[in-house]
């Protein structure tokens, strides 16, 4: 900071007389110079220079302004530090004043006359002090030199000290001026936070599940011991990753790999990050040294304010292990939505009782993919109050809905016909509860249970009718009638006049472009059949909508209704 000499106590030094002839000469020169005189008269001048020494004679306004600015600087300095000090040219403290906060070093008057390295700081080695002393010998400024000491009560105290050399007007070194701060609370808080961080790490390391924490870009910030051990021996999608790698990028690159669909995992994690989904679960099989294992990946949003975003855990599962580990969750699912699947309800009581021992309640969330085309079927599902779309994929990008399964049917019907892989994508479109059964177990039960066989063949036929009708419908009927059919079918299955669906989603379902959906939806809205805003669809006139639907709706519905009687 440049120090205005006129403001310091030694004011006379600058505005004083340095011999009458010189002063007279100055006045004469000023009067003779019209531009200088004019500038002084109009208040545009801060200082007049003494022609003998070059020292400034400040005009009153400038003097006042500089005094104020110095006072301002002074109070800002006081705000930003605990103590201000000055040292002489031998680096001995000449003054130190400031806060009284019980940190004895800088509050003790005994500091006067001592050098910084004479004080009882215990964190600086001889070498550290040598470096510091050579710095101040060069008259260099120093910032935030960190020092540690113990107070009278034996408690540890941390300080930072900053200093800047001061020179007189002739450029001679006069000493140092600087500030000191007590940063004990900061350092202690940091230490405590590190300790708790350590506890969290060792707690995570003690868990059997493989856990990692991702930041908002998908980079692995931290992984636990189980993860690291597994990563060292495996190369399953995403799991052979160490800290610093990007999990999402690895999943994206993996694409669809046998039974692990990397793209689906990446999409699910991104949804969790965006807060659209909580949590995301994905089950997959993986070859381990001890044989083939089933795993469940769970992605949960991290509710911290740091950079961490998502916690990923991989847990070994099996039907029974899962039931043992998540009994509460499954209880909850079962209680919330008593399973009301019509295929199961049609079974004789005895057989149902036997079947139900092998059934496992699950909660499905919007966007869950039960199968991808070509996936081996590992579970079959009896939907309760959820809704599953069967989509066929064309050229890897275009999707078209060919069937809709709700509580009237079963997902994975191919298995009942002896086909072990899925030809369609089964996508959860309405969240809710379902019962599922492991594929092998299902095939055994099917052999032993003629009534289940009968029910499922009947349902397979209904679904076939739905497929053929949908195929014809997609070819011959206008988008508006198809949309009305689709909304009516959805309504029948979720048994509610309100549901949430975006135009993009509807476009996929109907195999048309988004603009086609927008036009059709506006037409239905104009006829006061539906209302929609931001993806919330409300059916206003159920009968009107049924009538607006193409004939396919009534054909399929009649078949289903008849089968119930």
């Amino acid at each position: 900071m440049s120090s205005p000499p006129g403001v310091r106590a030694s004011n006379a030094q600058h505005s004083g007389m340095h011999g009458a002839p010189a002063f007279e000469d100055l006045i004469r020169r000023l009067i003779d110079a019209p531009s200088e005189r004019q500038a002084i008269e109009s208040g545009q001048v801060d200082a007049i220079l003494d022609p003998l020494t070059g020292r400034s004679i400040l005009l009153p306004e400038a003097q006042e302004a500089l005094r104020e600015s110095q006072a301002r600087d002074h109070s800002l300095v006081k705000l930003s530090c605990d103590w201000q000090w000055e040292k002489d040219k031998d680096y001995r403290f000449t003054s130190c004043e400031g806060a009284r906060i019980g940190s004895w070093v800088f509050e003790d008057k005994a500091i006067i006359g001592k050098r910084l390295w004479d004080l009882p700081f215990d964190n600086m080695s001889q070498g550290d002090w040598r470096t510091h002393r050579s710095e101040v010998k060069r008259h260099a400024a120093y910032r935030d030199l960190e020092l540690r000491s113990h107070d009278d009560a034996g408690a540890v105290r941390f300080f930072t000290v900053s200093g800047e050399p001061i020179f007189d007007n002739r450029g001679n070194f006069k000493g140092y001026r600087g500030t000191a701060r007590d940063i004990s609370s900061l350092r202690l808080a940091e230490a405590a936070s590190q300790r708790s961080h350590g506890i969290v790490r060792s707690a995570l390391d003690a868990l059997r599940a493989q856990i990692c924490v991702l930041d908002s870009t998908g980079t692995v910030l931290y992984s636990n011991a189980a993860w690291r051990a597994f990563a060292a021996t495996q190369d399953c999608t995403g799991i052979g990753l160490s800290e610093g790698n990007n999990y999402l990028a690895v999943c994206d690159n993996a694409g669809a790999h046998e039974r692990v669909n990397g793209s689906a995992i990446a999409a699910g994690i991104r949804q969790v990050m965006a807060g659209q989904r909580e949590p995301f679960r994905y089950e997959y099989g993986c070859n381990t040294p001890t044989g083939r294992c089933e795993f469940m990946l769970t992605a949960t949003r991290f509710a911290g304010d740091g950079s961490a975003s998502v916690v990923i855990s991989h847990e070994k599962t099996g039907v029974r292990e899962r039931a043992r580990r998540f009994p509460q969750l499954d209880d909850l699912v079962a209680r919330r939505a008593p399973i009301a699947n019509r295929v199961l309800a049609a079974m004789p009581r005895e057989e149902y009782r036997r079947l139900s021992a092998e059934l496992e309640p699950v909660s499905l969330t919007f966007g869950d993919v039960l199968y991808e085309p070509g996936d081996p079927i590992r579970y079959i599902y009896f939907p309760g109050d959820c809704l599953i779309s069967l989509l066929t994929q064309v050229e890897d990008r275009m999707a078209l809905e060919v069937g809709l399964v709700g509580s009237e049917g079963m997902v994975g019907i191919q298995l009942a016909l002896g086909v072990g892989t899925s030809s369609v994508r089964a996508l959860v479109q309405g969240p809710g509860a379902a019962m599922r059964m492991e594929a092998g177990r299902f095939q055994l039960e099917l052999k032993q249970c003629p009534s289940l066989q009968r029910e499922l063949y009947r349902y397979a036929h209904q679904l076939m009718v739905q497929f053929t009708q949908t195929a014809a419908c997609n070819r011959f009927h206008v988008v508006e009638a198809r949309l009305a059919r689709w909304l009516s079918m959805t309504r029948d299955r979720v048994k509610s006049d309100r549901f949430h669906l975006t135009h993009d989603f509807l476009a996929d379902m109907l195999g048309v472009r988004r603009v086609g959906v927008t036009n059709a939806a506006s037409a239905l809205r104009k006829r006061n059949l539906i209302e929609y805003s931001r993806g919330d669809i409300t059916i206003l006139d159920r009968k009107g909508l049924n009538a607006a639907a193409c004939v396919c709706y009534r054909i399929v519905k009649k078949l289903f209704d008849d089968s119930q009687h």
Binding site: E36, I40, G43, Q44, L49, T53, L58, E61, A65
Partner: protein, 108 residues
């Protein structure tokens, strides 16, 4: 705050004549601060990259100010190209600054 800035914006020497100017100020006294702001605005507008401005704080370099014949602060000196010229005061009078810097046809 050290008031010893040297702005060297002459990135293409030889393409245009570089105007070398020097402004003498007294720390951050009000007229000195105003003069810096006024001068920088004028240079940005009229000289773009073709000037070299040195700000001399007379608190720090009293002898130099004296040697340069400075009587009061703030004051502006055009060092080159010739002819040398000077303006005294906080430089709020644009036309006299432009005149001293030899910027022609600028009557704003």
């Amino acid at each position: 705050m050290r008031r010893k800035l040297v702005r060297d914006k002459a990135s293409r020497p030889g393409v245009e004549t570089v105007v070398v100017i020097r402004l003498y100020v007294s720390g951050n006294a009000p007229n000195s601060m105003r003069a810096i702001a006024n001068l920088e605005a004028i240079c940005r507008e009229y000289l773009k990259d073709t000037y070299k401005l040195e700000i001399v704080d007379v608190f720090e370099q009293p002898i130099r100010a004296l040697a340069d014949g400075v009587l009061v602060t703030p004051s502006l000196a055009k060092v080159s190209p010739a002819p040398a010229a000077s303006v005294v005061g906080n430089l709020s009078d644009r036309s006299s600054v432009l005149l001293a810097l030899g910027i022609e046809g600028a009557s704003r």
